[in-house]
């Protein structure tokens, strides 16, 4: 009962969690590039 709606609701924290992982990954890439270009991180 209401299982599909509950599963849909769980996507909400998943969006935040996926964002956090991708932010950490992309920040590492940015910081590496900034260091290569001589910008202070």
């Amino acid at each position: 009962m209401y299982l599909s709606q509950i599963i849909q609701l769980l996507l909400w924290p998943l969006v935040i969690l996926i964002t956090y992982w991708l932010v950490r990954y992309n920040l590492k890439k940015l910081n590496k590039k900034l260091a290569e270009d001589g910008e202070e991180v």
């Binding site: 609701l9 956090y20 991708l22 932010v23 950490r24 920040l27 940015l30 590039k33 900034l34 270009d37």
Partner: protein
């Protein structure tokens, strides 16, 4: 119809729309920015890098002023249910009041309590408690929106209730059906995602301004990474939830669905209108026939609307004329009654309620039981009482039962087209910030800044579709908007409308000035 003061109805609607639209300038930013700040602060706590504390505090300052005005205008909205929409509050207050009360007790207290720690707790509480408070504010703000959106979704798709003829009120019989109605869940997720996209555009746009001014460039680039990633993930989620919302709408609000695609006549293999310009709003001829304006120009994708709605390119979708005149749905095999028939059944439901009330007053137990039994009969409720709202209308102006088609169509298409622009902007900004080439692409930075007003327009357009597409109903098929207003003198509503308009404009100017001052101070507070 003739018993209603339509001037009063229009001004009451105008006042509520004004307050709601002003409220919605601030709320979506709060919803999304809270999570962006929470993610930034988490990076600070995990890495111990003081720069992330500085970034977090900068965005938190912008969050703070938004939060305050968002709450103040939200309270005005709740008061307006009582002052301007007391008939509505009477008719469905037993249902609508519950989510609003839960919102106040649970979510609002949660965010209001921890926001104090979020702002004033730095160096006074531990880093981890400070971080926990920020996350709780973000979750609280979103949960607060959940309950409001559950209440709104119930107006789009009234479920989990029963009508009590003794009080002439609708009463909640199944809380979980209301909370977990597919309309409610889709509305919550879609609205949240739109708030996240708005906040991401805001952060990207402000950060682009810093890059143009060559100030706090590293802070700005790091902010762009956080916001672009959040924007991309949220945009994908926005598309997914928007698709789900539209499918649900096709089931429970077929007229709104037909209006937002300006689908005049039902057919199979319905194309999706990518871009189009409408000739006119549907009208009723003197002999009661509904006339629909066609497109002056359109670009369409064959079969796409049928496919997107029912995952079948050959699926039948009813148009506005079919919904008004009645139709046989080849997909479900059902005969859907015409609006004239629904009006007849609605009048029968209203008359039955009047007879029940008269029997009650006269102490005629036999008649009271006879009429009262109908309200307990699921078959009668389904075939007749569900069209209660139609009984307020006459069948001489059926176009009056059709929402504003051009407004629904344009607001929907504007929202969709702009959402595509936002996703493209996030992707491009992320690609070029990671290559450290953004500063050389000044045109892109200008695009990012000018996308800030566009995201607010898209966000408002979504609500215009949701609320205007439901008209003339305040509760779909159950209560017309004109029957929901408080019996006030129209002039009193006109006075408060202009008072609110002046107050909101002043607050808006003040808010913009505060924001600009904070932004100009820079991310490090004075560089």
């Amino acid at each position: 119809m003739e018993n209603f003061d339509l001037t009063l109805v229009d001004w009451s609607r105008g006042q509520f729309a004004l307050t709601a639209m002003f409220h919605w300038i601030f709320v979506p930013l709060t919803l999304g920015l809270a999570f962006i700040i929470a993610i930034m602060e988490t990076i600070y706590v995990r890495t111990g890098d003081e720069k992330w504390k500085t970034i977090t505090k900068f965005w938190a300052k912008l969050f703070g002023s938004n939060f305050a005005i968002g709450i103040a205008t939200g309270i005005i909205l709740e008061f307006e249910f009582g002052t301007n929409w007391s008939n509505y509050s009477w008719f469905v207050g037993d249902i609508f009041g519950a989510p609003l009360a839960i919102e106040g007790i649970m979510a609002f207290f949660l965010e209001s309590t921890f926001i104090a720690v979020m702002f004033f707790g730095w160096n006074k509480v531990s880093k981890r408690f400070q971080l926990l408070s920020t996350w709780l504010v973000a979750i609280g703000a979103n949960l607060s929106a959940l309950w409001i959106l559950v209440a709104n979704a119930w107006m789009q798709n009234p479920v989990g209730m029963a009508f009590n003829p003794d009080t002439a009120r609708n009463e909640m019989v199944d809380f979980w059906a209301i909370l977990f109605s597919p309309t409610a869940i889709n509305k919550f997720l879609h609205t949240m995602a739109s708030g996240y996209v708005l906040a991401a555009v805001f952060v990207v746009g402000i950060s682009a301004w810093f890059l143009l001014k060559k100030r706090n460039t590293v802070f700005a680039k790091q902010s762009i990474v956080v916001a672009s990633v959040f924007g991309i993930v949220s945009s994908v989620f926005l598309i997914f939830t928007g698709d789900e919302s539209a499918r649900e709408m096709a089931k429970v609000q077929p007229m709104k669905f037909a209006a937002m695609e300006a689908l005049a006549e039902g057919r199979t293999n319905v194309p999706l209108i990518a871009i189009g310009f409408l000739e006119q709003q549907p009208t009723t001829t003197p002999d009661g026939e509904l006339q629909h304006g066609d497109f002056a120009f359109k670009i369409e994708i064959p079969n796409m609307l049928s496919y997107m709605t029912f995952l079948d390119p050959n699926a039948y979708i009813p148009g506005i004329k079919d919904l008004v005149n009645g139709y046989h749905n080849p997909r479900t095999g059902q005969d859907v009654p015409s609006y004239s028939e629904k009006i007849r059944r609605g009048k029968e439901a209203i008359t039955t309620l009047k007879m029940y009330k008269e029997a009650l007053r006269a102490g005629d137990t036999e008649k009271k039981e006879e009429y009262g039994a109908l309200f307990d009969d699921p078959e009668w409720v389904e075939s007749t009482f569900r069209y209660f709202g139609f009984g307020y209308y006459n069948d001489d102006n059926l176009a009056g039962l059709v929402p504003n088609v051009p407004l629904s169509f344009y607001s929907f298409h504007l929202m969709v087209i702009l959402s595509g622009h936002f996703l493209a902007l996030f992707v491009v900004m992320l690609i070029f910030v990671l290559r450290n080439r953004l500063e050389k692409m000044r045109w892109l930075l200008y695009v990012a800044i000018w996308t800030i007003p566009l995201v607010y327009i898209a966000s408002q357009a979504g609500w215009i579709l949701a609320e205007m597409g439901r008209q003339p109903w305040v509760i779909q098929d159950l209560m017309p908007t004109l029957a929901a207003v408080s019996q006030l003198d129209a002039s009193t509503v006109q006075v408060t409308f202009w008072l609110f308009a002046v107050t909101f404009t002043t607050l808006f100017i003040a808010e913009i000035k505060i924001m600009i001052t904070q932004i100009k101070k820079g991310m490090t507070g004075g560089q």
